[in-house]
Symmetry: C2
């Protein structure tokens, strides 16, 4: 089977191949195989919906992103969006756009990755669509979650005096991507494999872990005033929260929890290490603001979040300025990643 | 502005361009511009969710499908899926994958088409995503609707003795597509424009009208035992209902309401007119089964559905055979459209 192509087995067989792997929770009344899926909304909760596509040649390079990582990322980036709203993930729809000459084993691999992370976060794959692509592989996922009315986290609630926090580490995914690219371009060993931090950064790029639990805890404990996920870099996240909330933000460069090797890597390649790291996307950490007067709530979140670090990196200010405070003075925040730019 | 490309204005400006046109109903608590949308589920109703992509070179050819029709179709095919479930459309998420050199006027045109049909069916565009494409234009829409628990229409309820109905006319979209293709390939006038039915068939292909009201009425009146929309042709619809319900279906060839010109067109081109018309997709009519003992319910649906014809074309049978009954005897049902085949 593994050497057959998508064209050889056809759309209906591909769909059967996927649905055979699925088990539906009781709140899914109509799953895959009908015109649409039917689910019971969670009682007393709101629906949270998001969609994000992974496109070959834009979001991933099949030379060095294995099929399972494509599937993992496709769902993870959407779960990360739900996490940033404080929502509990429930279900997903999968839209696959596949070239006819794609090997079926690649589809199986993508599903392996997607189903593994779906199982981890108890996400039911309730429907989707498969269609032919004239070229690139595209995986578009819509994720559905639920959140109680007063626990929604948005980008708009940051107020002057709030403290700014980020989960985990930042900048690692970009270094991981560069390492994978160099290995693919120049052959095995040309990447950063010899550096101790490379494997971790590559994994961060290939299989990011959405901060679902942290987002839920921030919402439940009403510990955050604003929240966003870092899909397009820390600088972009800061900019988005500030714009949506109508405030400024001052970030302390020394406080930013860069992943191990990030400064070293950028320095070795002659980049401004901080600017490059702040502009690099794909970290999928949460950036949030919290009122200092309710620090107890944040303490509760941290205790329940296990070993996920939450680092204070700055403060919300009155003006609309975005500033990076360094040992040698303040400078403007660099831009984040933007499609088409 | 109209001669600028997507790359020139960038992702953020494109998003602002879209969100500036939107107005949100009160049940949308967080609309576009945050990590995800937040909506109130309809009280006492179930959520219905579907996703379907329109891919350049597969679902549409930009030589003869104008931007507004791309946008119209992208939403219409999803509303058609909701209609087939008996659901009321509520909201949509729009995932755009666009090449950087695409003219912004094309994006505006797609939005015009999408927003026009969205307004007609009171669908709120609550979120989405824009990303770069390495080649083809892709428009992936997820539609969300609601339905009361006992009014859901599925494919699985057809029972022997039920009558088989189809709304509107079939086969027109395929003839319209062929007419548009010929004009594009061979120049103006080469298409079927001179034939009186061509314009109507082209319109059926370009801007299909989802049978939202008919689906709602069938569900509310509990008039149908099974329902599906005809995205992949009448033959495929028959096959899907029969397979899902574990029954056979016998269709009377003479009863099928082919659109005007369909038989004439296929005959003129040396095709078996009925087989070709049954296999052609894109009509987006509803195919449903109804118990003869509750014909009064169907009568009520017809009265409320206005001038949309609902034509009896066959009966559900005990065996699992799919038969086309013709003047000269019975023959097997032709296959429907399948991606990758």
């Amino acid at each position: 089977m593994s050497s057959r192509t998508v064209s050889e087995i056809g759309e209906h067989a591909l769909i059967s191949r996927i649905t055979a792997r699925l088990a539906m929770p009781p709140w899914v009344l109509v799953g895959p195989g009908d015109d649409a899926a039917v689910i019971e909304p969670e009682r007393g909760a709101l629906d949270v919906l998001t969609t994000d596509a992974q496109v070959e040649g834009v979001h991933f390079d099949r030379r060095f992103v294995p099929p399972d990582a494509i599937g993992h990322r496709a769902l993870a980036v959407n779960l990360s969006d739900l996490a940033a709203m404080g929502a509990q993930p429930r279900a997903a729809l999968l839209s696959l756009v596949l070239p006819g000459d794609l090997d079926v084993s690649v589809v199986d691999g993508m599903l392996d990755g997607l189903m593994t992370i779906a199982a981890r976060y108890r996400v039911a794959l309730i429907g989707g669509n498969i269609t032919r692509s004239p070229g690139p592989v595209m995986v578009d996922v819509t994720a559905i979650g639920s959140v109680r009315p007063r626990r929604v986290l948005t980008r708009t609630g940051a107020r002057p005096g709030d403290e700014v926090y980020v989960t985990g580490t930042v900048g690692g995914a970009l270094v991981g991507l560069r390492s994978l690219q160099r290995t693919a371009d120049d052959g095995v060993g040309a990447g950063l494999k010899t550096r101790p931090y490379a494997v971790e950064c590559e994994e961060k790029y290939l299989r990011p872990e959405p901060r679902v639990r942290a987002g839920l805890l921030l919402g439940r404990n009403r510990a955050a005033t604003a929240c966003i996920d870092l899909s397009d870099g820390l600088a972009d996240g800061i900019r988005q929260i500030a714009a949506a909330s109508g405030v400024g933000i001052a970030v302390d460069e020394d406080a930013i929890p860069f992943a191990e090797g990030v400064r070293e890597y950028h320095q070795a390649h002659g980049h401004d290490p901080v600017c490059t790291a702040l502009a690099g996307g794909d970290d999928y950490e949460l950036l949030f603001t919290a009122r200092p007067s309710v620090r107890g709530r944040l303490r509760a979140v941290r205790q329940q979040a296990g070993d996920l670090p939450m680092t204070k990196i700055g403060v919300v200010t009155k003006g609309q300025q975005l500033v990076l405070r360094t040992a040698s003075g303040a400078r403007d925040l660099p831009a984040g990643f933007e499609h088409f730019r």
